[in-house]
Amino acid sequence: MPIRQNVSGDCYELIVGGRIDGAAANEMEVQVLNAIKAGAKEIFINLSEADFLCSAGIRVIMQYWRQLKPQGKRLMVTRPSPAVDDILAMTGFRESIVENAGARA
């Protein structure tokens, strides 16, 4: 599934759906890098349409979450599908990288 993008000023939303396997994780990283190069200060990765998220996808999210934070910028996951929400909870990342993690999907 192609990654869709919404841009509002320096805020980027990437909508990543379907099976986020290794290949999709690579494509997601390309899109995140493009957004960073374009000057994004906030990147939201919308996973509402994702069937699953493999560990390579989590690594991409974790890597750029870490990279942007010291620069006063941020990358967050929004609206994870229930399965992806469970994966993020299972791996201990949910509370840190999901926007409004208190509201369970």
Partner: protein, 147 residues
């Protein structure tokens, strides 16, 4: 449901990745796996396939992977054998989930996810081959399904 079996053999797992998962999904459909169960089995084997391609065969000139699945009414038994470097995922220590994101190591997540999504996961050696045996409960997914 009658017992059904699946077998996939590859001498180039990087090249055969897409074909493997396409055939796996078709097998799941033939067994009437629910979509959430099919997704979880794909995710388990996605993690293992990545491990094989990225690490097990990094220096191997003649890779060999054989995936065999037996699907019954309530359980799928999955066996993957490979001739890559010796590796025992069942013995691997789980990551510390309580560390802050800033301090979390990058590695180890995939194996941990495989364990959590499986009913059981055992690994060992048979001669020169790694053997991974996974049991997957087909009656109830581990992850919540899309509403």
């Amino acid at each position: 449901m009658a017992e059904k079996t699946f077998r996939f053999e590859s001498s180039d797992p990087a090249r055969d990745r897409a074909r493997f998962f396409s055939e796996l999904r078709a097998f799941g459909e033939s067994c009437d796996w629910s979509q959430p169960i099919s997704n979880e089995i794909q995710l388990i084997l996605e993690e293992w396939w990545t491990n094989l391609v990225s690490y097990a065969f990094a220096k191997s000139a003649q890779p060999s992977v054989i995936v065999e699945i037996t699907s019954t009414e309530g359980e799928a038994r999955i066996q993957v054998t490979d001739n890559g470097i010796p590796f025992d995922p069942a013995a691997r220590t789980d990551p510390d989930l309580h560390l802050p994101v800033e301090e979390r190591p990058i590695g180890g997540l995939g194996i941990y996810m495989m364990k959590k999504l499986s009913k059981s996961l055992r690994s060992g050696r048979d001669g020169e081959r790694n053997v991974l045996r996974i049991a997957k409960d087909l009656t109830s997914p581990v992850l919540r399904a899309k509403s």
